[in-house]
Symmetry: C2
Subunit: 344 residues, 2 copies
DNA sequence: CTGTTAGCGCTTTCAC
DNA sequence: GTGAAAGCGCTAACAG
């Protein structure tokens, strides 16, 4: 298979192929796309010629004709990309590699910029748009007056008639506690992050539910402040001071959990023997390097991306199934490591 | 400004606008693009009509005609996105928001997949391609037979006639040491990562250069193993055992530095008073949460992205300046925090 | 100032 | 089997 022509040359067109193969453009088209009835010999000659001069079909022309481009816009405000990349990968998987290409646009959390990017995507006739936020708080809808379907991933839309997919943080909180309970813990504290995040409250609610279901209560109130190791360190010290008997700490993020581990170590408490610790997010760089390695809740973001792509795909198809509207809360997953169960 | 029409409707075309505004398509085109001579009144009428029915010009048609699409492919094997995202942002900045859109393709480190993605990008007639690797080791060239210019970012191309931009790791190593020297340190060890990475060797070379220039020698040999906190912890213990007098440790990554900090703490060495520590990468989640906060070397990836975009831009333009070939090593930057200079 | 014409590269009837 | 012709949506000559 040839690699095309020198960089300076103009990309070959179908009519050039046709001329060289001494057939008409339409025949060349059919030959190359395996369509229609073309004699085996003609097809061979055309394909060979195309290969020789490095013909690459112009997808723009095809798209113009077809009315579909096979492109999708990923509109994000997730500067760090912790959420957007797994979602991108999941989407690429779901669409099937090479079938669909993704425009990644970063709006930098700016509504004006988002409108710009949206306009640009529409001009390029994307077949659909996935909007990825960086928090799980509901965000304003792009509206229903768009000519393409939209799916909201991670950050759901405020509008319940939009299609949104977001991790089930409440279930995550429950899952964390159920695991701690199953490890024989019962005196559990909860240190979490920024109270302006819905995620913090959702997880805390799950924590309370699971404790309540077991007839237990949280040690103290959930402690809110920020998603940082520093806060984890400080809060852990406070918690241990006020409730020296805690035998487990559920954390709102892995960063916080790392801080908690540090303080426990400083205070001479053994993990997990004296106090078990569980994080949230399963951010590998933090969890697998911790001492001991950190048990955590994984939001299955790649799966979320795949599902988002699937939902979009469905909405892009001929009969955009109506029943799938609203916020879908996707299951999360427990990843057990040494901070809750002693390794041998 | 209207938002377009209901999702079900077909996107309006220019000829529809023209019909409704009772002008010809060409006049409508001129009016909308502010081109040619159109009476003020006609322009107003056309623009108003376009707005009313939510006309969005079809960029595919424009591109087909213009021969340029205003799109760029970002071909990456950087699964985590630590490198690709800042580069993407820098590129978006450099191109000017909304002017250019970026197709992000993940090849998952697979050469076959990369070829697929490349083909897809060429079919879509991207105006240029930026290839982003996840290591600074040279990678195989995509070849010179492509119809569009290619710039290699982070991972340079093996082919010296390609345009490559990569951080100057050697300078980074020097910068780290020069900083430690300026802090009055002289008994310096070097703990770094995977010896199969060029980055590890380049940084180590810089370290040695700067020490040599000051008439000093490294304490022991550079210690290679893996880019992890665990290795940082283990190596630090070893280093302190063999060279108890070290007063500074230059680390090959922030992860390693975090591990080093942990061990120093465990052993009761004060940082930075007894031992100064410097990391590499300036990965915020690691540096700003460390105790004390970690001084580090920042590779200016966003800048790298901007420069890559600029280089591509130049190569995409009418006279693709020839003199810019080869590997450009971009300057790195020291970010001073509490692990090398005591805070008051 | 405005409209007519041609054509970007391709696919798709529909005759031959 | 093959080719001629129309047209996707738009812009850029050129006449009028």
């Amino acid at each position: 298979m040839h690699e095309g022509q020198p960089a300076s040359t103009y990309p070959a067109t179908l009519s050039e192929v046709a001329k060289l193969a001494r057939v008409s453009v339409s025949t060349a088209s059919k030959a190359i796309n395996g369509r229609g009835d073309v004699s085996e010999e003609t097809r061979r000659r055309v394909v060979e010629t195309a290969d020789r001069i490095g013909f690459t079909p112009n997808q723009l022309a095809r798209s113009l004709l077809a009315g579909r481009t096979g492109t999708v816009g990923l509109l994000t405000s997730d500067l760090e990309g912790r959420f957007v990349l797994p979602i991108l990968m999941g989407a690429e998987d779901a669409f099937g590699a090479g079938q669909v290409n993704v425009f990644l646009c970063d709006a930098r959390g700016d509504a004006i910029r988002e409108q710009h990017q949206l306009k640009a995507l529409l001009k390029r006739r994307v077949d659909g748009i996935i909007v990825v936020g960086r928090q799980t708080d509901a965000r304003p809808s792009l509206g229903h007056s768009l000519p393409v379907p939209v799916v909201y991933a991670y950050a759901p839309s405020e509008d319940p008639s939009d299609v949104s997919l977001t991790p089930d943080n409440e279930a995550g909180g429950r899952l964390a506690i159920e695991h701690l309970l199953s490890c024989g813990r019962s005196r559990i504290g909860h240190i979490t992050g920024d109270p302006s995040y819905a995620a913090a409250h959702d997880r805390a609610r799950g924590v309370r539910q699971a404790l309540g279901a077991a007839g237990l209560e949280l040690r103290g109130e959930p402690m809110f402040s920020e998603w940082s190791e520093r806060w984890g360190r400080d809060a852990a010290a406070m918690l241990l001071d006020q409730h020296p008997d805690v035998d487990a700490i559920a954390c709102g993020s892995d960063q916080i959990a790392r801080g908690v581990l540090d303080t426990l170590r400083d205070l001479g408490r053994r993990v997990p023997e004296d106090v078990a610790v569980i994080g949230y997010d399963n951010w590998e760089v933090l969890t697998t390097n911790a001492r001991p390695e950190l048990t955590s809740i994984d939001a299955n973001l790649q799966q979320l991306g795949r599902e988002s792509a699937l939902a979009l795909f469905k909405a892009m198809g001929p009969n955009p199934a109506q029943g799938t509207d609203g916020v879908r809360h996707l299951p999360v997953r427990l990843v057990i490591r040494g901070s809750t169960i002693a390794r041998r």
